[in-house]
Symmetry: C2
DNA sequence: TAGATTGTTAATCGATTAACAATC
DNA sequence: TAGATTGTTAATCGATTAACAATC
């Protein structure tokens, strides 16, 4: 049922970074690279790079290394960047607007075809050549323009009911910027989460952990 | 040198999610929970929850479970949310604006004290009660207002030189939204990356992997 | 050919799960 | 006390690293 089976999450998460570094190498006119050289640049082991790539095929050549452009294209293909998905954005607030204007979706195969918001004052305003549609018209819109992917840029409390509507419309793929845990609600959907709050808390942990707080626990100090 | 030593990255990454779920339980008026109940809600094993928590201390009670509020506060403390960091934002474009307006930094201990951009047309405009400062005045600003954390919301090509300036000013903590790999440039800094492009590519992989493409490789088709 | 570097198997390391004694 | 559930040790599982034969 899957193109590549049993590929572990850690491997998949490294692919975009490989892709990025290979793109940079191309920009710098470098045409070949060994796993050893690449590992030094990326701060990984050469072994890991070879193991990762060999999940998908033997892209290198003994005694020579890898063709930078060849490998770049292979990874792009593995990632599925040569596909195209009709994508709608739910929520045209600050975050939604930023996501819509900032991202080069098209480069990654996501074609933005609709933007929705329940705030009537936003309806009709144009973001990236697309007029914001009233969220009430979601079903009408999708009747004629089935979407493949929905991007959630709405507050947590609004997600559940909208998710149900999208699910009914057959949409199963989500890029989720809300703090709502979609994967707990449905088990047959594909979700990629961007939890900015979680990321910020992890930064907070890293900083406070590094700063060698003395272990006198403030909570137990009566002073 | 560290508050908690040898805590693995997988454990740390789960902490914000625990925090979020516990917050929801509190909102719903639930005061106690067992690792088994929580594991069912979160889609984890009870074993993992107990292992994770016991990295930091024994917060539960045999035969009873965990106090929801108690555990919530403990995790907040572990994450270091009771700290305060003077934070500057570099880049007042769409993404920077969204990050500044969307995030409840203060709740996580990050106090936004400055916003910088090199676009003179943006200088002086006000975002979240803070006037955008000319990037040229970064050093002047930091002379009197040392910052603890910098948020990067600028294009990749602009990062390296700004990072050098911030590094010289003693800033070592970064929330990095750019596609530049800061951790490769310096080894004594703390970086939390939000690579939206990487996330989008991973979504792309998940979708195309699930859709059972026939294995006829288009690239080798001469048709 | 000799040198280099891959693809791949084997060894190690770390993270997750299971089990259970401790104890509330 | 009996029942429940933790904290923690042991077992399993998976991911990373090391080693090396294959081969360009």
């Amino acid at each position: 049922m899957h193109k590549y089976e049993n590929i572990s999450a850690p491997v998949i998460k490294r692919l975009p970074r490989y892709y990025r570094f290979l793109g940079e190498l191309m920009d710098n006119g470098i045409t070949r690279i060994s796993s050893k050289e690449l590992s030094a640049k990326m701060g990984l082991t050469a072994s890991q790079i070879r193991q990762d790539l060999n999940c998908f095929g033997g892209f290198g050549q003994q005694g020579y290394g890898y063709s930078v452009e060849g490998l770049y294209n292979e990874i792009g293909h593995i990632l599925g960047l040569d596909h195209s998905y009709r994508t709608i954005l739910i929520g045209a607030g600050n975050l939604g607007k930023a996501v819509a204007t900032h991202m080069s979706f098209e480069k990654r195969g996501f074609k933005l075809v609709g933007i929705f918001d329940n705030d009537k004052s936003k309806v009709g305003s144009v973001i990236r050549d697309i007029a914001v549609t009233d969220l009430d018209d979601l079903e009408d819109f999708c009747k004629d323009n089935a979407a493949d992917v929905a991007i959630f840029c709405v507050p947590k409390y609004a997600v559940a009911s909208i998710a149900d509507r999208l699910y009914k419309l057959g949409i199963r793929n989500f890029w989720n910027f809300s703090h709502y845990d979609l994967s707990v609600r449905y088990d047959d959907i594909i979700v990629e989460n961007v939890h900015l709050n979680d990321s910020l808390m992890i930064l907070c942990y890293k900083i406070s952990d590094a700063h060698d707080e003395p272990e006198n626990d403030q909570r137990n100090n009566k002073s």
